[in-house]
Symmetry: C2
Subunit: 216 residues, 2 copies
Amino acid sequence: MYLYEHFESSKIMLNNFINQLRITELELQDELQEKSSITIHKKDDIIIKNNQYIKVLKIVLKGKVRVYQENGEREILIYYLNPIEACTLSLSACFEDCKSTVNAVVEEDCTILNIPVRFVRDWNFKYKSWNSFTTNTYRESYNHLINQYSNLAFQPLKDRLFDYLVSKANDTVVKKTHQELAKELGTTREVISRLLKKLESNGKLNLRQKEIQILK
Amino acid sequence: MYLYEHFESSKIMLNNFINQLRITELELQDELQEKSSITIHKKDDIIIKNNQYIKVLKIVLKGKVRVYQENGEREILIYYLNPIEACTLSLSACFEDCKSTVNAVVEEDCTILNIPVRFVRDWNFKYKSWNSFTTNTYRESYNHLINQYSNLAFQPLKDRLFDYLVSKANDTVVKKTHQELAKELGTTREVISRLLKKLESNGKLNLRQKEIQILK
DNA sequence: AATTATTTGTGACTTTTGGCACAACAATAA
DNA sequence: TTATTGTTGTGCCAAAAGTCACAAATAATT
């Protein structure tokens, strides 16, 4: 974790965040500058640990973070955080002290804005743009989670896997190992390997080492 | 649906709601009186239908409502609404027009406070107590749903069933048919019947018609 | 009391998912 | 190039969950 390693570019990213969220209140802009800190993390850094107290709201400015729950050997993806997105669970913690029930790990090198929870709480009623931001974060996360939930309940793993690949594909290619996919979908590696083979022989995919190509 | 059938008792319930949520702003109290309506529903009434536009935030003042998603023959419980609780999904709709992805059915005769979505949105930044209410609703619902999600991912059905019975038990007794339990847990009747039999022979339950007694 | 409808039980079978063991293959480093 | 490590493939079996068919038990209705 390198605090203000790239001071100038961090500043640009914060300004970008302020613009994208339409934070027009000058006072809030100042408070953000003053009271938040920006940290830089490398791939695979763990930035939130299960059972740890949450003291700051984390907002991704650059990069990507994977938030997941673990249960013994198994894991399941809760959500990804992309730029300009706040970690909904750390937002929750702003309104009631609590420990994290998830882990968050850096998926792509990233820059993160950290805002101590007490400010987040205060700003929520003080600044309209901030209020919109937290409300939208909750709304979008809640809707997303409901979808995940009912897919998990109703869809067979094979379908969930295929849909997941399509959603993750960067121009038809997904660069992930079977083990990684297993952890995101809450199952085991062998199961994924077999389902992928089946999808391949159904002509839906091409399998290569560490890489899956989706066919149209 | 009987509008203001019991005008006086409705008024008392609204006041009770106002007190419990510590809505101290007189202006908001007036707005609530003026702009909301109170409706009364009987068991099994459907109050929200899948794919319908959501025009009001629904808050339960008395009774109980079951909110669930359906997928063909199957269903899965999303949450129950108890007194003083708002339907989180209709809260979501207050901040972005959308259709419902769930159904809501009255589980116990109930009285419901209906607030048109535009007011909910406005009040969110206008009144602090209202802001707290919506924030708490989101926070609690989100945490609850995350738990449901990871239970669904990690726990075998047998455990989810038993935990569900314990949580629903009214002094160790749950009055539900196997079919109803199946619909709440997202599975089929036969599966539930068999699991219940197994739990009974393990000495965890006593089964009677339409009734399950949990043993300590 | 007889009929009807609802609820529960269960056998027999299939599909889906999971676990273990080990082989084959690919990538990387010494 | 060889050794090491990580990744994928797969046989074999077990457990969990789902489906179909039908019987038995219980409750509700006439």
